[in-house]
Symmetry: C2
Subunit: 328 residues, 2 copies
């Protein structure tokens, strides 16, 4: 592989000069520049990114930590991030945590070892203190996740408001016994969705019944199991709100398995508006989460940090609308 020195020799200049044309910095005589360019072409020269990185103390790499890339929600999120990153001269290192706190910390160490310039987190599985200690090595941005004290910048939707909308929609349709299937409770956005659900019931002076509130794992199977449990209650719910679309699909399957109809016997609402919501029969009423945009904005935010912007505690909130289809 030719190095910068080979180019310099071939062009009859010093490597400083080659470097200048490489980085387009400093004044270079146009004629000299042509000679250098010609030499580079002739040798088929490509600068070593690693050497440049060591010198400049940057990597142009961003670590993106997500629970599971085979989940379409995270797929869209990462897609948004990647497009922005490439446009700005960065690349994305994909880090599947499998929700494992240990692996999350291992990936965070990439920041410390100067393997990446910054990190985007989609879920916080470790004490905030510990995560924050990595900030000395580079910026960290949260997406679809945030911390109450705003000590880390975040890009989110208003999950409380979204869940309120869903609940109000069901109430206005005449439902009073509304089941709720939440995701894992350690996730703040799940707690928010539950808050919104409860808040809106209270707004309409509907008593909150705790046997109607269940909790699962964001999978079809999980939603199915919770729905069976809810449908086995003395006083069955006439509507079920699941905290994501996959679980809502499981709910529909459980309802139909009991010989009941959606929405006539049980109305169902999901959350996210991923592809399955338009495939399942009946099509799912859901919250249209701007997944791709969440990815875009989070990467833009991170890169603006890297460019020197200070935005401790900045929180960007995107709009998420209710998308009414056949299941309610």
């Amino acid at each position: 592989m030719p190095t910068i020195l080979d180019v310099a020799e071939k062009a009859g200049v010093s490597r400083s000069t080659v470097s200048r044309v490489l980085t387009n910095s400093g004044r270079v005589d146009p004629e000299t520049k042509q000679k250098v360019l010609a030499a580079m072409k002739e040798l088929n020269y490509q600068p070593s990114q690693v050497a440049r990185n060591l010198r400049r103390k940057e990597t142009n790499l961003i670590a993106v930590l997500i629970p599971c890339i085979s989940n379409p929600f995270f797929g869209s999120l990462v897609q948004g991030m990647e497009e922005v990153a490439v446009k700005k001269g960065y690349h994305v290192i994909l880090c599947n945590t499998g929700e494992d706190p240990v692996r999350q910390m291992e990936y965070l160490q990439m920041l410390e070892r100067k393997q990446v310039d910054g990190v985007i987190l989609t879920s916080l599985r470790n004490p905030l203190e510990e995560v924050r200690s990595y900030l000395q090595h580079g910026p960290i941005v949260l997406v679809s996740e945030y911390v109450e004290d705003n000590s880390l910048p975040a890009v989110v939707i208003d999950n409380i408001k979204a869940a309120e909308r869903v609940t109000e929609h069901l109430i206005l349709k005449g439902h009073k016994r509304i089941g709720f299937i939440n995701g894992p409770e350690h996730i703040i956005l799940c707690r928010d969705r539950q808050k919104g659900y409860i808040q809106m019931l209270e707004n309409y002076e509907i008593s909150v019944s705790h046997d109607l509130i269940t909790c699962s794992d964001f999978t079809i199977e999980g939603g199915f199991a919770c729905a069976k449990q809810l449908l086995a209650l003395e006083e069955k719910p006439s509507a079920i709100f699941a905290a994501n679309d996959e679980m809502a699909v499981g709910v529909i399957q459980a309802v139909q398995e009991q010989g009941l109809r959606v929405p006539q016997d049980v109305a169902v609402v999901g959350f996210d508006n991923v592809q399955v919501s338009k495939v399942v029969q009946p099509n799912l009423t859901t919250i249209d989460q701007p997944i791709f945009q969440l990815g875009v904005k989070s990467m833009e935010l991170l890169i603006s940090c890297l460019d020197g912007d200070v935005l401790e505690g900045k929180r960007i909130v995107l709009e998420a609308n209710l998308c009414i289809r056949e299941s309610t």
Copy 2:
């Protein structure tokens, strides 16, 4: 940030020695080692990966080029790759090409610039010659894609055989007019699926009717449009085989929109066995492609190349079985 020199000073040794304990190479007096370890701990030292990379001329990074990470098929594929990579001390750089040949070449340049040690490609959108010219800079492995001359190692399924199985299954169910909706024809695996379809028709001496063969883009909408076209024929097909599950979902929607039933009026088969195949009603008969395993094997193959194995032209073929459900 502390460097190796800071550690050396604190421990009262040379940086060579620190480096030796860092890399666990060469003989180091146990006592000296303890001193060094203690100094590292005290300074909270982490070696710079970039400096090590420059010196060792490796990056421990793999570029994975895929058309679109928000597609669950590629999500599962990448998940398999990432797990293997991390286990072996590598990280994955995610490269979304959007099927754009120009972007594909740009990403390939990462190999030349020594930003990555190797590349995995899921689709070849550029002349083989050009892609092969990058081999001088590092290994390239294909997955779910291959080249006829085996000049690049590949991990695949036997798409001809799989399509034959599908077609035979339909024939044995009594179907004689079987529509086929293929993916983009420039993709070799699509050409193979079509070959299998035609081959099996010929085996059973069923004439191949070219108005029954259509071609689309692997999306639900694309499958829907092709199905409408097929269903508008004078002699309608009694079964439709789509080259992936998304298009098969579109087929089911088109059939049902016409007031026809699946499978009684039109049987439908997909390909891949992704999540939607179990959500759509009726559940889809499909080819169960070992997606995650394709990812695993391709990364293992690439890393074995990096470890020095020579495997030009190696082709690994995984099993893919027919998964019969309600749509046939």
